[in-house]
Symmetry: C2
Amino acid sequence: MTHDCSFLSDLDLDGAVSFDESARESHAADWVAQEAGLGVTPDAVVWPASTADVSAVLEAASEREVPVTPYAAGTSLEGNAVPLFRGVSMDMTRMNDVLDVRPDDFQIDVEPGVMGNVVDDTVAEHGMFFPPMPSSANLSTVGGMIVNDASGQKTVKYGEVADWVLELEVVLADGTVLEAGSKAVKTSSGYNLKDLVVGSEGTLGVVTRATLELEGRPEQIKGGRAVFESMDDAAEAVYDAVRSGVDTAKIELIDPLAAEMANDYFDTGLPEGAMIFFEFHANHGIDEEIDFFETILEAHDVAEFEIASDDRMDEIWRARDELAFAVQQYDPDLEPRHPGDVTVPISRYPDIVRYAKDLADERDLLLPCFGHAGDGNVHYAALVDPDDAEAEARAEDVYDSIVERAIEWGGTATGEHGIGMGKRKFLELEHGKGGVQAMRAVKGALDPNDILNPGKMFPETETEGGRVELPGR
Amino acid sequence: MTHDCSFLSDLDLDGAVSFDESARESHAADWVAQEAGLGVTPDAVVWPASTADVSAVLEAASEREVPVTPYAAGTSLEGNAVPLFRGVSMDMTRMNDVLDVRPDDFQIDVEPGVMGNVVDDTVAEHGMFFPPMPSSANLSTVGGMIVNDASGQKTVKYGEVADWVLELEVVLADGTVLEAGSKAVKTSSGYNLKDLVVGSEGTLGVVTRATLELEGRPEQIKGGRAVFESMDDAAEAVYDAVRSGVDTAKIELIDPLAAEMANDYFDTGLPEGAMIFFEFHANHGIDEEIDFFETILEAHDVAEFEIASDDRMDEIWRARDELAFAVQQYDPDLEPRHPGDVTVPISRYPDIVRYAKDLADERDLLLPCFGHAGDGNVHYAALVDPDDAEAEARAEDVYDSIVERAIEWGGTATGEHGIGMGKRKFLELEHGKGGVQAMRAVKGALDPNDILNPGKMFPETETEGGRVELPGR
């Protein structure tokens, strides 16, 4: 069903509105939905230029019960920004100003459309960084990171995006503007609406301003790479390092298959073994900490242990940062299916990696694995021939089994990508009937007409034509 | 109005129920409400022994629209556990088991009635600690800490309680049991109900189990004390240290008046100047970090800088930990009024301390100040003659002015004590109409009959007899 969005033209907006097909088509999908041909074209696109614009659009849309789906860089991986029920795609990328930097308070105020690398560059001038920044900093917006509660390689030391958002300005479905959180670094005042909006994927409100907390750059940064005889050894080594309290700032695992794919794509000549990439941050004693780490790795038959020079570090991390692209380009006859993002308690990390690799072998699937190992996070994606329906079914089954196992082991279906369309069917498995019921109650309270990004997060949503599922879901 | 709570006797509970006056009277107030004679006696007390008990009581109470106010150690400072509308006081202290310790995952599962020091002792055996533990560990329960989103002296380095709660089992008003959060260290799955319940003061649900995250004890711990010429110097020194990125694990400020009170109470012979107590945690290079800190303090005319031996440390911290008692006992003719708990961005810390001290001087009030300076948190309490109505009014006015100023400067009315009864009137000033409206919507969604700790947090609640306000509020 299309919605009459002509009301947008009657609003006195600072920003812009378009009903052109090309504008609408370009807001139909995010990365994964695009790949899967699962976009849904909105009826209109609006680019608000101010909080007042966002409020005016939402108030008018609420009155008319027209769906509004926030959109930014479109880099999400679960169909999070697909306007499933058409209506308005609200493109936040014109609200892309850095509003204020307060280095003495370790704070920066930004609009939601600011790109991650703009934050990086802005705060670097003050000797600071935004610790949970995802690897996709140059591709994704701060607003997107916030509403998906993203995280990054340094999350193992510093925590996820939620931990570094102090205050949000949010516009609710009816146009009400509120500030959630505080510029004080701690508060016990009222309900924590800030962390309710973080990770809510645009279904509870639209973020129009964020105060982020920053960290001073450590005096010492060093990193490198370790190669192991087997994936088991590598995963066990990560677990052992984490439980021993080794203070790593990054600790990433890459399996031999992913390493091969990276080599094909980047020609980086990585050894095609199970590998850990790591980085340490400290003000004092970084070498002692790395020595401690090496000792632990030696107990797991580490075959190579290399501390990299700065140049070499960049090369190493580039291979890791862009691994998702390497997977995508590996074989022209194969397409990667929906990427997995399970996270488990660290004691289960070797188990989940083993489970995933064994299952893929058993079911005859190429399934590269990599991820933020120190958090217990593993990304995986089955590569299948799109013309082979049977292989598609196997890939779906393997994907599901890994998620189900992660949840069984106390973990989560998604460490950092969100639920979107792609993981709705696991919401109840993870949170139970009571949890989902409470989430629905919260959604109903803040968006009674269900206009904000409808169809996401909650299971059993149907849209016209049944185009609601991502492949492998 | 009393409520017929005889239904409690008909429930098949593992725990106990009492309608005795002594049991009911002992659940009428928390510390501050007790002092102020502002208790409200519940109609019944129930001590659930299991999640099933909690669920059965809430379901039955919901059906009958009988208020239920969770109660634990009764050490809250904002009337948080006062059963304002009578009904049932639900005493959680029988659910006090440590359920599981998983040192390899840095996790402990506890029931809500477990005392803080039991957690301390249990995890110390594994070389771990619970970083946000408040100073009142031996007086307060984990459940109370969670629902007030408490914090402690080490919050400046490690964060508040919310940051260290991974998963909660929660019973909603209608008896529904749910799990919020995850045992994975990060998750982007669904709405963050966990952090909605943390700090909700028993108004959204009753916590029946918590998974807490732990930290390994650092290799190096050292602390000490610094004395300054003036409060201005001391507060500016704290600010300078924080903005310079000094990695302190504790940094507490005590004003000369509070020091005098501590000396009277403990006979500790503290110099009666403006003082900072501090502690450092590190695995490497603690002395270098402390040297850096000392350099910064020297720029603010530090008069004494002492690194303490372990024994001396205990003595120093005892004076700080029990300062609230020292304030209370200072003068038999004076009573401390409602303790302040404002928190501001660190750049405003010297300003808020100066503002508080100057205002107290100007208004001729004894107002000892102390607090978790590194967080921008200051506690203060005016001492007044309870028979002097004019002094009471001045004390209230000073209290209010400090809160209003903190909010104006981007801070919060409460860093760690919560809103309870005592700070309801500031909720809208801090969060705006939109924020309070959204909070009310969430409350209405999860507790439609308003049975859970009714009358707290939101302003303009009236109870019988108008006994709704704490002194100074």
